[in-house]
C-alpha cells in the first residue's frame, strides 16, 4: 500500500508535465482489416500507462506505431515533439529516444550480453567503447545481472534475457519505454524478476507504456489503465476505478475473464 501511494504522489506531479507521446485520430489497416480505429491518446512525461485487452484488439500494434515498427495510415503521432512521417531521419531520431522491450526479448544471439548493450550507444550515439561499457554495466547492475555480462544470450534463462533486453534499451537513455507483453513468454517463476525490474524503473520516473495482462503490476505502478477491444480504446481510467468500477460491458467481461480464473 505504501508503494502505491509513493508512486501515486510522483505521478500526480508528472501528469502535469508536457506531453511525451501524442496520438491524434490514428488509423491503421492490414490490407483491408482495420486494426486501429481513431486512436487518440496523450501521455505526459513520467506517466505510466498500462494497456490491456483481448488478443487481436490492436494493443501491440498501437504501441509499435509509437516507434514506427508499424506504420499508421491516418492521423498523427508525435513523440517528444517529433512527428512520425515517412522521413527516415525523424524515424531514427524517435527510435533512438524510445526503448522497446519485446515479448520474445530479441537479443542479438551472436553478441555477448555486454556487446548487446553497447552496440546502439556506440553506433548511434557515438559513445566511446569505454564509456558505453561503463554505462552498460551500471544498467546491468540495475537489472541485477552484472555477473552475466560476458555470456551469450543463449546461455541465459528467459527471465535473465528479458532483463538484459530492458538494460539494452536503457543504455540508449530513452525518454519513453514501451513494453510489448514483456512477461508473456516467460515461465511463471521468472515473471516476478522481470516485473520487479519494471517496478523499479517506474519508480525512477520513466515514461512507460506497457501492454501487459499483469494486473498486479497495473495496480502498483500505473497512472492510467487503458482497455482496448476491436481496435478502439474502450475505456481509460485510474487503476483503482478501472478495476473496481469498470464502466463498459466489454471491460467488465474482460476483467471477469482474467481476474477470476
Amino acid at each position: 500500500m505504501n508503494a502505491i501511494q509513493a508512486v501515486d504522489s510522483t505521478a500526480n506531479a508528472a501528469s502535469a508535465g508536457p506531453a511525451m507521446v501524442e496520438l491524434h485520430g490514428v488509423h491503421k489497416w492490414y490490407d483491408r482489416f482495420h486494426v486501429l480505429k481513431d486512436i487518440s491518446l496523450s501521455v505526459a512525461e513520467g506517466e505510466r500507462i498500462v494497456i490491456c485487452g483481448p488478443s487481436g484488439s490492436g494493443k501491440s500494434t498501437m504501441i509499435r506505431c509509437i516507434n514506427r515498427l508499424e506504420e499508421h495510415q491516418r492521423g498523427r503521432i508525435i513523440v517528444g515533439g517529433v512527428e512520425l512521417t515517412s522521413d527516415v531521419k525523424n524515424i531514427e531520431k524517435v527510435r533512438s529516444e524510445v526503448g522497446i522491450v519485446f515479448q520474445h526479448f530479441n537479443l542479438f544471439p551472436h553478441l555477448t550480453v555486454l556487446e548487446n548493450c553497447v552496440l546502439a550507444p556506440m553506433w548511434v550515439r557515438k559513445t566511446p567503447r569505454k564509456a558505453a561499457e561503463q554505462a552498460a554495466m551500471e544498467y546491468l547492475e540495475r537489472v541485477r545481472i552484472p555477473e552475466q555480462a560476458k555470456k551469450y544470450p543463449g546461455q541465459l534463462s528467459g527471465g535473465q534475457q528479458q532483463r538484459v533486453a530492458i538494460a539494452r534499451s536503457l543504455c540508449m537513455r530513452p525518454k519513453v519505454m514501451l513494453f510489448d507483453e514483456p512477461t508473456s513468454a516467460l515461465d511463471p517463476e521468472m515473471i516476478k524478476e522481470v516485473l520487479d525490474v519494471m517496478v523499479g524503473l517506474a519508480r525512477s520516473g520513466m515514461t512507460m507504456l506497457c501492454v501487459t495482462h499483469e494486473m498486479g503490476f497495473a495496480k502498483t505502478v500505473a497512472n492510467r489503465v487503458i482497455f482496448m477491444d476491436g481496435g478502439e480504446i474502450i475505456e481509460e481510467n485510474e487503476p483503482e476505478a478501472f478495476f473496481m468500477h469498470p464502466q463498459h460491458d466489454r471491460t467488465k467481461l474482460f476483467l471477469s475473464q482474467i481476474l477470476n480464473h
Binding site: S96, I100, H110, L119, V124, Y152, P153, G154, Q155
Partner: protein, 367 residues
C-alpha cells in the same frame, strides 16, 4: 501420507560395454544385413586398394628425365617431376618466379593469423589484406614498375593462374553476392529489386562456359576499335559475376533465416538500414550459411578449370598441354591424378576450415 524422500544423489550414466569387439559388434555387425554390407565393402576395398597402391607407389618410377626411363609397369611420376615447373607457374619466366612465390608467401602470412586467431590488430591486418595486398600482388605479378620486368598475363599459367582466378573470384563474389541478395530483398525499391533478380536469374540460367565465351569472344565485338582489355581480366570478371549470382542466393537464404524480431530490435534501437545490416543481420545470416558459402567457393575453385576454353592455361590446362608433349606421350593418367590430388587438397582444406569455423562461431545453445 507424505512422500518426502531424501534428495536423490546424481548417478553416473550406465557405462557402455565397448572395447574392440563391442565396437565391431555395434558398428559393423549389428544385424545380418549390416554384416553382409560390411563384408561386401571389405571385398570391394580388396579389389580396388592393392592394385592402386601397386600402381601408384610400389611399381611407380619416381625419377628420370626422359620417358624411356619409365618402365610403364606402374605410374610414371617422372612425368610430373619434369613438368612440375610448368604445372605450377605456366610460362612465367623462371627467373621471375620468385615474384609469384613472394606474392603467395605474403598472402599466407597475412591471411593465416586472420583465419585462426583473435588479436588486437586484427582489423588493421584485415584492412591491409583487402586494400594494400591486392596492389602489392598486382605489381609483383604483372610488373612493369619498381624495376620489375613486365610479365604478360598470357604467360601466366598452372596452379598460379588457378589461384589468381579462384582468389579474385572469391574475394569479389562474396561482397557482390551480399549486395545482390540485399537488393533482391529490397521490396521498397522495385527497380533495384528487378535489376538484381534479372541479373541473378540471367547469370544462373547460363553455363559458366557461355559466360566465359561471351566475355572472351563476343565482348571485343561490342567494344570500340582499339579498346581491348586483357583476356585474363575478362575471364576474372566473368568468373566473379558468375559466382556472385550463386552467392547472392546463398546469402539470401541466410537473410531469410533471421527472425523478424532481430530486424525489429535493431531498428528499434535507432540503427539505420546499413548499420543494422552490417552489425546485426549479416553476422548472423553469414554464419548460418557458412556451408553454402564454402560450397560456392569450392565450386568456383573447380570451375576455374573452364578457362581453358578461352585459351588460358590453368593447372588443368597446363597438364593437358604437357600431355601433348611429344617426348612424353601416354602419361595423361598421371597428369590427371596429380591435378585431382591438388584440387582435392585445396577443396578439402576449405571444407575442413568451414567446419572448424562453424564450431568456433557457435554461441547460442538453442533451447
Amino acid at each position: 501420507m507424505t512422500t518426502h524422500r531424501q534428495r536423490h544423489a546424481d548417478l553416473p550414466p550406465p557405462s557402455a560395454p565397448m572395447g574392440g569387439l563391442g565396437w565391431l559388434r555395434k558398428n559393423l555387425f549389428a544385424s545380418p544385413q549390416d554384416g553382409a554390407l560390411t563384408l561386401l565393402a571389405l571385398y570391394l576395398l580388396y579389389l580396388v586398394v592393392p592394385p592402386l597402391v601397386e600402381w601408384a607407389l610400389i611399381k611407380a618410377d619416381w625419377r628420370g628425365t626422359r620417358s624411356e626411363t619409365c618402365s610403364r609397369a606402374g605410374a610414371c611420376w617422372a612425368f610430373i617431376h619434369v613438368h612440375l615447373n610448368q604445372f605450377m607457374y605456366g610460362f612465367y619466366p623462371v627467373a621471375q618466379q620468385w615474384r609469384v612465390n613472394l606474392a603467395i608467401a605474403l598472402l599466407g602470412a597475412l591471411i593465416v593469423p586472420l583465419l585462426f586467431k583473435r588479436f588486437a590488430l586484427k582489423r588493421w591486418q584485415g584492412a591491409v589484406l583487402l586494400l594494400v595486398y591486392p596492389v602489392v600482388a598486382f605489381y609483383l605479378l604483372v610488373g612493369g614498375r619498381f624495376g620489375l620486368s613486365h610479365v604478360e598475363t598470357s604467360k601466366w599459367g598452372g596452379l598460379t593462374l588457378t589461384l589468381v582466378i579462384a582468389i579474385v573470384g572469391m574475394v569479389a563474389a562474396l561482397p557482390l553476392g551480399i549486395l545482390l541478395a540485399l537488393g533482391r530483398r529490397a521490396t521498397n525499391m522495385p527497380v533495384l529489386k528487378t535489376l538484381c533478380v534479372a541479373f541473378i536469374e540471367l547469370v544462373r540460367g547460363v553455363p559458366l562456359i557461355t559466360v566465359l565465351f561471351m566475355s572472351s569472344v563476343m565482348l571485343p565485338f561490342f567494344l570500340p576499335e582499339g579498346l581491348n582489355f586483357d583476356k585474363l581480366l575478362r575471364a576474372l570478371i566473368g568468373v566473379a559475376l558468375f559466382a556472385s549470382a550463386y552467392m547472392a542466393e546463398v546469402v539470401r537464404g541466410g537473410l531469410q533465416g533471421i527472425p523478424k524480431g532481430q530486424f525489429e530490435a535493431a531498428a528499434a534501437l535507432g540503427l539505420g538500414f546499413w548499420k543494422s545490416t552490417a552489425l546485426v543481420i549479416l553476422p548472423q545470416a553469414l554464419k548460418l550459411v557458412i556451408p553454402g558459402i564454402v560450397n560456392t567457393f569450392i565450386g568456383l575453385f573447380k570451375d576455374t578449370s573452364l578457362v581453358l576454353i578461352i585459351g588460358l592455361f590453368d593447372l588443368l590446362g597446363s597438364i593437358q598441354a604437357a600431355n601433348a608433349d611429344a617426348n612424353w606421350l601416354g602419361f595423361s593418367t598421371e597428369g590427371y591424378v596429380f591435378a585431382g590430388c591438388i584440387y582435392w587438397v585445396f577443396c578439402f582444406s576449405m571444407s575442413r576450415y568451414s567446419q572448424w569455423l562453424e564450431k568456433k562461431l557457435q554461441t547460442g545453445h538453442k533451447r
